[in-house]
């Protein structure tokens, strides 16, 4: 069974598209931490399914400068497609939804609320480099396009609503130990955000700067019984 894809780019681990031979069937739980230039994101997630996989996640993104946080909820659905018949390469089309609540800037705009929702579609890929009974080592990559709508309210009155499109690109290494513990360090970047100097965050995920490189680390524990290797 897969390790968990997290829906929001602030927490997305990109590790959903796993080699079914490398992990157990059933489900998985995971934690993820991602570091951006001024924010740190933590999340926990759970997934279920095999060829079709669904997952949900909850996380928080903390602005280290302003000391405020946003809460993120996410859901993902993907399909694992084995290529080549050897199990070395998988492609995973993926759909996702994410909602972000906050942050509330108590020292700047204490009566303002922000809520963001985003739909995404993308493709993940995984190539197994090394496979033994104990260790599976793979490289991973993903590209997702996000359509985000941001809503800004002041004392319950809508100030503005902005919708925009951006994309995320991630690549990393995945190490699975004895089919139950998977560690995935990744780097990622966000492209196509609304240009800066136009005021508020607008339709951009909290904590992100366009074009910046971020680092994330995910740890997942697979649950369920062992499946036979293909």
């Amino acid at each position: 069974m897969c390790v968990v894809p997290l829906a929001h780019p602030a927490t997305a681990s990109g590790q959903a598209c796993v080699d079914p031979n490398a992990v157990r069937a059933g489900g998985s739980v995971g934690i993820s931490v991602a570091r951006y230039s001024y924010a740190t994101a933590f999340s926990v997630s759970a997934a279920i399914g095999s060829r079709w996989r669904g997952s949900v996640s909850v996380g928080t993104t903390r602005d280290r400068d302003l000391r405020v946080s946003a809460t993120t909820l996410g859901a993902d659905l993907l399909r694992v497609v084995q290529l080549g018949g050897t199990g070395r390469f998988q492609l995973c089309p993926q759909l996702g939804f994410a909602a972000e609540f906050g942050p509330r800037y108590e020292l700047l705009t204490p009566d303002d609320d922000v809520r963001k929702t985003a739909w995404s579609a993308g493709l993940q890929g995984r190539l197994a480099l090394h496979r033994t009974t104990a260790i599976h080592l793979s490289i991973t990559g993903s590209y997702r396009v996000w359509r985000m709508t941001s809503r800004y309210d002041h004392l319950g009155v809508r100030l503005r609503e902005v919708t925009d499109t951006y994309s995320t690109l991630r690549a990393g290494v995945s190490i699975t130990y004895r089919r139950w513990l998977t560690l995935t360090p990744e780097i990622g970047t966000t492209q196509g955000l609304i240009p800066p100097d136009r005021g508020q965050d607008e339709a951009a995920p909290f904590g992100h700067e366009s074009g910046e490189t971020s680092l994330s680390l995910s740890l997942a524990i697979a649950l369920g019984k062992r499946v036979a290797a293909h």
Binding site: V33, A34, R35, S37, Y38, T40, D63, R64, D65, L66, R67, Y105, L107, L108, T109, P110, H130, T132, T133, A134, I135, L137, V173, I175, Y177, L183, P185, L193, I194, P196, D197, R198, Q200, D201, E202, A204, E209, S210, L215, S216, L217
Partner: protein, 238 residues
């Protein structure tokens, strides 16, 4: 690569990644440095100058390249000199914080407070002083005040602490203070600024406080990348 070697490699990778993902990673990897952009103008702000005992002044620098953005770990070194002989160094930082491309902005070195009825800013003056901060402005009634924090990294913690001071009704980071000489909005991200404490009395060189007397003139000086020295128009102590 054997399984055991892979496990060791994985453990090392995880440890390194965990270190770099920790909250202090940026501070560990990058110490403070100095940038030296070419400046078109250097000025001592008329809007934020209280040249009296317990006062302060602000120095502003405007890069020629309006797309210049000072890194959060860098400062721009200028020198303040008075006609009486005092000489202090000052590290310019960004005027607007936080140092990033988007999102809400505030004055890096200031916050504002509103007092409850019956209280005035003078009631919390000892707390402001104990924090190492100084009033930039106090309204005639004492109900409103702006406070200057001399370390940009301490502005938010100091503002948060002030929220629970007795008599304080509301604390906000300052967002609106743009003096007349401010560049157009699109160029303000590169604007450099820093405050300096001002006291009256005898000159003490390089003590982090500018000592002034009535009639003194104050100038800021900056050495350009070319080696030439840019000097601000003088501020005259009343």
């Amino acid at each position: 690569m054997t399984g055991a070697a892979l496990i060791r490699w994985t453990a090392r990778t995880a440890a390194c990644a965990a270190l770099c993902l920790s909250a202090s990673c940026g501070d560990v990897l990058g110490s403070l440095g100095f940038a030296r952009p070419e400046l078109s103008r250097l000025s001592i702000s008329d809007s934020f100058a209280r040249l009296v005992q317990g006062g302060l002044l602000y120095v502003d620098g405007f890069p020629v390249d309006t797309s210049f953005r000072l890194d959060r770990r860098d400062r721009v070194l200028v020198e303040l000199v008075t006609s009486a002989g005092d000489r202090e160094t000052l590290n310019l930082f960004r005027a607007k914080c936080p140092p990033r491309a988007r999102g809400p902005y505030y004055e890096c070195f200031q916050y504002s407070m509103m007092m409850r009825g019956g209280s005035t800013a003078q009631d919390v003056a000892p707390l402001v002083q104990a924090a190492g901060d100084r009033f930039t402005y106090v309204s005639e009634s004492g109900a409103l005040a702006n406070v200057t924090v001399f370390d940009a990294g301490a502005t938010i913690p100091h503002a948060q602490a002030a929220r629970i001071w007795p008599g304080v009704s509301l604390v906000l980071l300052s967002q609106t203070a743009w003096p007349a000489e401010a560049p157009p909005p699109s160029d303000r991200r590169g604007w450099l600024r820093a405050p300096m404490r001002v006291d009256s009395g005898a000159v003490r060189l390089a003590d982090g406080v500018l000592q002034v007397r009535s009639g003194d003139t104050i100038r800021a000086r900056y050495t350009q990348p070319s080696g030439s020295v840019l000097t601000s128009p003088p501020a005259i102590v009343p």
